[in-house]
Symmetry: C2
Subunit: 375 residues, 2 copies
């Protein structure tokens, strides 16, 4: 890892320079994953079993007999810091969008295994009781949270609203969501055993940066003449554009099932950008022949961070928020179903026999087997 | 509410003075609860329904047909700050205990509705990547988390380990756990409809402060000559005593079901201390004829905070971590089953027809209907 100080201010800005050091987190992650894996056997005590293939996937799945239960907890990350800065500049509260982002982090992961999200729990840990005294902001958070639940047809079960002075920074809030769903009928289980050569790759449009890459986005603002108010396109500031809420994809996965399409695999494109297309453990080549148009704020970020395509696509979603791997004959139908839910989609590529590799043909870039280490 | 400044340093120290202002949190809570309640109807879209009586209880319950699913997310609170201070003083890491506390917050709530906990997810949000570089501390957290999962026979499904510089305070960690369980068979559902006059109240022993009342405990340390190293009893410091891990009660509730005892109601005694015995919405009188022995650290806190019994029992668990309301004829059996799991228990009282009231006869104190507003 290179330290930020060794680069001139105008140089390339990578994710590590923006302050997230995965080298320090990963040893703990590995230890935690090993310890966690050893606990799966406890389920036998209750007459159940884990779906071992879900370890390393985006949600954990338990076989309870008539169906499967999937569960997850997900963090918003640092996007709320952008909302706080923009609030200072515009007086508006963006916490309705932030609420949707938080729920999307959980829901969009949960659905990758074929689950229907049923219950969301809210985790809103504030830096002190006074966070909640801003009535406009608190109302926006509640309203946005409810609206996202309505969109996904999930029940908001409850949650926690602790005031954690000394742990959460003063004036800030740490937002997360947990989600429980079921995979019903059982044949909806999607943990990758069906993925194979010949499958089509359908990419669903993102709305912008979603909630990954925000450390980079916040670092970049230091380079902009008008900071968050710098225009990304006429009439749209960088801050506003960043705060476009993350797309909720569960209406698409539910509509697909209703239309008879059962994805062979799904990948939520979050941290690590398009490298997430390499998530499946199998040795397969993913050949992309069409890329979606890049959301203006992401194009803007790429330019100002002076990233080449390889770096940009390995960090940001670049217009694609969710990938569906479906039978070739279901590809067009998948696009039609997504569009009917108001979410743009394209048939972007194909899965081929071959070495583990992602080839983005229109851009002339490739990512190999070593590009993503999640397990 | 009275401000801390209006009391001399040697005066009575209440929970509000210790920095938690429930008046500011509650309006948001009420708005969130209303919005959440309106989302329960979404479950019909999936062919399911919520158990409406679980709204306002400690875990949210969905009827999925063959059984019920319960879910929850819970925060540790500020106990990790004590571990951090004690680490400076002793060089030891207490994060194995802290891990158990965090899981206990979720599990002990989930089991109140009759659920068997199946999956725990970890939410470990650090103030920066470097939190994870203290290998001893990170290992303690992982080991303690796994051990608590082993005790409760739950699968550790996974979780989130974000580095949230600027949101979580530098050098700190925000810990929470989500938990999903099932209520199986359906007759184990316990949302209070069976509670009635004549039921016995069995109290299960706590190990100390557990993870509620820590703001008060931390404030109190300013009054102690040797701070956290002040002895609570010979050879045991205040800090060590506070860090006794919260008892995990699910082995007791599982053993009770195996022994044929189905509680009519359960209350996890957390914030609001014994006022949690008034949690059930019915108009009933709870008459306590025997109180458990008070854990030394809680006795110590009561003395140094100069609290009378009414204030102490309305804030701290005072030796009782969990309440089981059972048929009178099951009371002794409940005690025997708990003790067989290594957890002390007493038949403490009885439920009577009468106004909503908790009468603690041995101490001559009462709490009325207005003592607890959770719904």
């Amino acid at each position: 890892m290179t330290s930020p100080a060794s680069h001139p201010a105008s140089g390339t800005l990578s994710y590590e320079q923006a302050g997230v050091n995965y080298d320090l987190i990963d040893p703990l992650k590995v230890a935690a994953q090993r310890a966690a894996a050893a606990t799966g056997a406890h389920l036998a005590h209750h007459g159940f079993s884990e779906v071992a293939a879900s370890r390393g996937e985006s949600a954990y799945v338990v076989d309870v007999g008539p169906f499967y239960i999937a569960s997850i907890v997900e963090c918003l990350g640092s996007k709320a810091l952008v909302a706080d800065e923009m609030n200072k500049l515009t007086g508006k509260s963006y916490y309705d969008s932030i609420a949707q982002d938080t729920i999307a982090m959980a829901i969009n992961d949960l659905i990758t295994v074929g689950a229907t999200p049923l219950v969301v729990q809210a985790y809103w840990a504030a830096g002190g009781s006074d966070w909640f005294s801003d009535a406009q902001r608190a109302k926006a958070l509640v309203d946005g949270w409810k609206r996202a639940c309505d969109t996904c047809k999930v029940a908001w079960g409850g949650g926690e609203t602790p005031a954690l002075a000394g742990i959460v920074a003063d004036g800030r809030i740490d937002l997360a969501a947990s989600c429980t769903g079921i995979i019903n009928p059982r044949e909806r289980l999607s943990v990758g055993d069906k993925l194979g050569a010949g499958d089509a790759i359908v990419l669903l449009a993102s709305s912008g940066i979603h909630a990954n890459g925000l450390s980079l986005a916040r670092k970049l603002v230091e380079r902009l003449p008008n900071g968050y108010l710098t225009e990304v396109e006429p009439g749209v500031s960088y801050g506003e554009a960043l705060l476009a809420p993350t797309v909720l994809y569960s209406p698409v996965t539910e509509a697909l099932y209703a239309a008879g399409v059962k994805p062979h695999y799904c990948a939520n494109i979050t941290g690590h950008g398009w490298r997430k297309l390499l998530r499946h453990p199998a040795t397969l080549t993913y050949r992309i022949h069409s890329v979606p148009s890049v959301t203006p704020v992401l194009k803007f970020m790429q330019e100002h961070a002076k990233q080449d395509d390889k770096e940009a696509y390995s960090t940001l979603n670049m217009g694609a928020g969710f990938a569906l791997f479906v039978r070739a004959e279901d590809a067009q139908k998948t696009v039609v179903v997504a569009k009917a839910q108001g979410i743009d989609a394209i048939v972007a590529g194909v899965v081929e026999a071959g070495p583990k590799k992602l080839i983005v043909e229109p851009l002339g870039i490739e990512f190999g087997d070593d590009a993503l280490q999640l397990r």
